[in-house]
Symmetry: C2
Subunit: 209 residues, 2 copies
């Protein structure tokens, strides 16, 4: 049996003690993948951003808030894992400055300088050892297959799951699985539970020996 | 019996189809106030941002996403209501431009121009007719009583509930209720259910005839 690291949910990048940048990721797809992996006997570590969803109690849960925290938590455990499923939607920009007190409304526009946050899957991909595998998720609103293949290569992934913006926060999903040759090797649509079972079956068949 | 309008939850201001500015408001305090009002026989209309919390089925629920939508929904119904409890945490900045496609990472910083969104409670307060009442909520990290009193006056509120940044997304809360003379007329601490019952009791005693 394998030990699988799953990142899940959104992350938040705070501007001040109240306001943040984020996205509508609910952690539902992550929770469904955790269930799918545990059901067939694997050990699962979940690094999750703030979500209301409840993960299987059989998994080890590491809660985080920001993208930097998610990366640090993953780096602590990835070396002991056989593979990564990066289904989280980490916030990929952070304010250059974070105010320690709540920013006050003045009636004037506010200019916010944003820097990119580290790419978690790419960072872990750059450190992967022989036998470790990575599955990424790509959420593209335009030209999804081409951009997903570029991401697969840049992030050293073994498979990339392409899903659509409409999947965020929803209960259903519709995905395509892309291999490193640019071939779509599977497509699944339905409840996130069913789609997760399908994705996990492909991962087992293609990446776990 | 009165008809009470309650705003609840956060709002989101999207930068592109995926990323948004928001805050961690869960709608729990709003849901507890809805329960408290319904329990003593009032009619409740809830205008709520995106939350996982479930409101009483006895309330009329109007779901919205952005601050502009929350204001528009409130303006449609406020004239028929006896009062407003503005417990929502509307996102008070919006990107000057919203991208129609997902903004691509380029490795470079991104500069975001933010404009203030309309102040929902202040806008409704400016239109209030004789006999209508407004209760606002102030979340301040610094100098809370002074700033809350300024807000009470600016927003034409009859009472202002002061709570702390730590209340956001939590199950417990600790509040002070400020009257237009700057006096703290009540303080409540405990579960949001208990705190909501206390706040609603003050509203009934002071504002409902």
């Amino acid at each position: 049996m394998a030990r699988v690291l799953i990142t899940s949910g959104p992350t938040r990048q705070y501007l001040d003690p109240v306001r943040y940048l984020s996205n509508a990721s609910s952690g539902r797809m992550g929770a469904a993948l955790v269930e799918a992996a545990i059901k067939v006997g694997h050990e699962v570590i979940v690094v999750t951003g703030p979500v209301e969803v409840v993960y299987s109690s059989a998994a080890r849960i590491i809660p985080v808030v920001s993208t930097e925290e998610m990366l640090a938590a993953c780096q602590q455990v990835f070396a002991e894992c056989d593979g990564l499923i990066g289904v989280a939607a980490p916030c990929d920009y952070r304010p250059a400055r974070v105010a320690t007190a709540k920013i006050r409304r003045t009636g004037e526009p506010l200019s916010l300088d944003l820097h990119e946050t580290p790419d978690i899957v790419a960072t872990l991909g750059a450190s992967k050892r022989l036998g470790q595998w990575l599955v990424g998720f790509a959420l593209e609103s335009e030209d999804p297959r081409f951009r997903a293949l570029t991401k697969l290569q840049k992030k050293s992934c073994d498979l990339m799951v392409i899903n659509h913006v409409s999947a965020i926060g929803a209960t259903d999903n519709s995905v395509e699985i892309l291999d490193p040759n640019g071939a779509i090797i599977a497509t699944f649509a339905g409840s996130k539970t069913d789609v997760a079972a399908g994705i996990f079956h492909v991962i087992e068949r293609r990446l776990m020996l």
